[in-house]
Amino acid sequence: MQQVYSATPPKDLINQPKLNFIGSGGTYFGILIVNALLCMVTLGLYYPWAKAKKLDYLYSSTELEKSGFTWSGTGNEMFKGFIKAIGLIIALVVLNITLASLVHKAVGAIVYFVGIMVIIPLAIHGSLRYRFSRTSWRGIRFGYRGDRNVFFKMFLKEMFLTIITAGIYGSWMIMKIRNYVIGNLKFGSAEFSYKGDGWEFFVLNIKGYFLTLITLGIYGFWWQADLFKYYIDNLKMVHGDKSYNFRSTATGGKFAGVLILNLIIIIFTLGFGFAWAQINLFKFIAENIAIDGDIQLEELSQTEEEYSNAMGEDLVDFLDISII
């Protein structure tokens, strides 16, 4: 996306902060393996602490202007959310079974389906609130300020439209949700915005899908690059009257390089190389996001409160939803 300035700012104020990912495959592998062992020994109960360790490492490994991000969420917080999430899911399943045996199978199934539909937006909302309030950089917290009721209604409406159009509306749904969620993200006193258009996104995907079929999958890398570009280039950060624009420098060729390399790593290490593959991908992503504009990062100030309810964070894991 082209950047349009209202007035040409003084040249010395334009800056290009660098994003870097400095994690190492070996250390990350070690963390994942210790996590896996402890999860296994505790029959999965260790999961929240495992997740906290993993996020802690990944956040610390991501640097903006040589300062790492900080994840300050804890396993204890997420464990409470984890227990609540399990309770909620069990309650729903029990309700389903009870209704199915007492009233009718269909009634049980419908209640279950509706229950899940209601939980999904609430879980996403909770997860965003928690995740971003626990993210900080040089002490400045991120935050998500979306309104729960607004998001809830929007999600259900979009979901409904997507279902009755047999999924065609999905592109519009994704863009609406992304616009809303990113539009409510804060980085201290700075705000993010995202301007995605359902039609553009739809065309991009249709084109990507058919060209990928025609080229027997080869175009897939370019499709991926287009999606990445659409995601990054429509992103903007605003601070007062100043802004940062984000730009993807990834191409289909570059994507092909990193994804094929990762595939080779995973195959030849019989899967043990997955940690290195993931680290490669994170490095690739960080390297291919260019930021420029006239915001002085030093001017960002603290505005966001802490938020410690992690139930949403765990629910999205249960329901296997990836946020943003």
């Binding site: 400095i22 393996i33 210790v34 999860c39 900080t70 002490g139 990062l297 001017e299 960002l300 100030s301």
Partner: protein, 354 residues
């Protein structure tokens, strides 16, 4: 005096400071404003090092420090009681690749032990809890997904042939011949046994056919499908727990029902079916050499390019021939002609001549 950067939790600005490390606390003053000085006790701060390159110190209210000076990190590390130091994570983060490789080796060891010792045992324990009626339901379910063209005349003959043999089992078996160009035979849990006509064409003697049926009956009798299912299920549950992916546990459970159609057995189950098949042959006074000849036929087909599904799951036919021969040597048994078997087999061969 070590160089570092301070942020105050109010803005994202970094201020250059000079840090002094003491045994119980650290303090730092600002380069720009020499009179301003801040002091933090180790007990009130939170510190962590990352890749041995960065030291991050956080104070709950007053802000934090970012330090990259290696000497400062070393000095601080010698005084500050790192909470992480003793934990496994601390060890991993300090040792990087070395830790990763030793953990990988340990993990592989544990994985192998679990996969080859614990899971089969666990699977058998679970399988024992399941009633035999479960086998039949499972078999019926599998059967409804497999569509075979059944040859009724052949099936009648095969059923009559099988009736001549005492299976010595509480299960009831059904025997069918299916039309297919694949050389195959299989047994579904609950006792439904199918032989493909292409395989019947390759079989030359009634002893070989009896051996084949005994082998399949043993799969049913010793519940190999159910045991395998239980083992696979516990495997995937443990694998999911291992990769801390809880959401997938439920989907794994439901997808397991479909794996039955693959109908592959492990080598261990094949061996059991061979050995127990021999016992059935002995009990019925049928020549045990039938099993050896059957395996000979299978191994000769094995070498052809067209690898049928049934045979590809019976690995190392040579190995099987060896232990079957040994077993026959260990427990030889008299055998006698069964004119009825001969007669039915002749009729079968008239239908399926090679």
């Amino acid at each position: 005096m070590y160089p570092g950067n301070y942020f105050d939790n109010q803005t994202a600005a970094l201020t250059a400071v000079d840090i002094q490390i003491h045994s119980e606390h650290l303090d730092f003053h600002f380069l720009e404003d020499n009179t301003r000085k801040i002091s933090w006790l180790y007990s009130e701060i939170n510190a962590e090092t990352f890749n041995k390159r960065v030291l991050k110190i956080k104070h709950p209210t007053e802000g934090g420090l970012e330090i990259t000076d290696p000497e400062c990190i070393q000095a601080f590390t010698s005084y500050y009681p790192f909470r992480q130091k003793k934990s496994l994570y601390g060890w991993v983060i300090r040792n990087g690749n070395k830790a990763a490789i030793s953990l990988a080796a340990l993990l592989l060891g544990i994985f192998l032990i679990i996969y080859f010792l614990v899971l089969p045992f666990l699977g058998d324990v679970i399988a024992k809890q399941l009633p035999k009626s479960f086998d039949r339901e499972l078999g019926d379910l599998a059967r409804s997904t497999i569509h075979e063209k059944i040859d009724t005349t052949g099936s009648d003959l095969l059923t009559r042939f099988a009736k001549q043999i005492n299976w010595n089992s509480k299960d009831t078996f059904t025997f069918e011949v299916a039309k297919s160009s694949v050389i195959n035979a299989y047994a579904l849990p609950g006792g439904h046994i199918v032989v493909y006509e292409e395989l019947l064409k390759k079989i030359n003697t009634k002893e070989e056919l009896a051996a084949l049926l005994s082998h399949e009956v043993s799969h049913v009798e010793y519940r190999h499908s159910v045991r395998k299912l239980c083992k696979d299920m516990s495997t995937s549950i443990i694998v999911s727990a291992f990769f801390s992916n809880i959401g997938s546990v439920t989907s794994t459970l439901s997808s397991q029902a479909n794996t039955l159609s693959s109908l592959t057995y492990s080598r261990e189950y094949e061996k059991e079916a061979d050995i127990e098949g021999l016992a059935i042959l002995r009990k019925n006074k049928i020549d045990q050499q039938g099993m050896v000849k059957l395996l000979d036929i299978l191994s000769s087909i094995d070498q052809k390019i067209k690898i049928p599904t049934f045979l590809s799951t019976h690995p190392l036919t040579k190995d099987r021939i060896n232990y079957v021969k040994e077993r026959i040597k260990e427990s030889p048994a008299p055998y006698e002609e069964n004119p009825e078997l001969t007669k039915i087999f002749k009729q079968l061969k008239e239908l399926y001549h090679s």
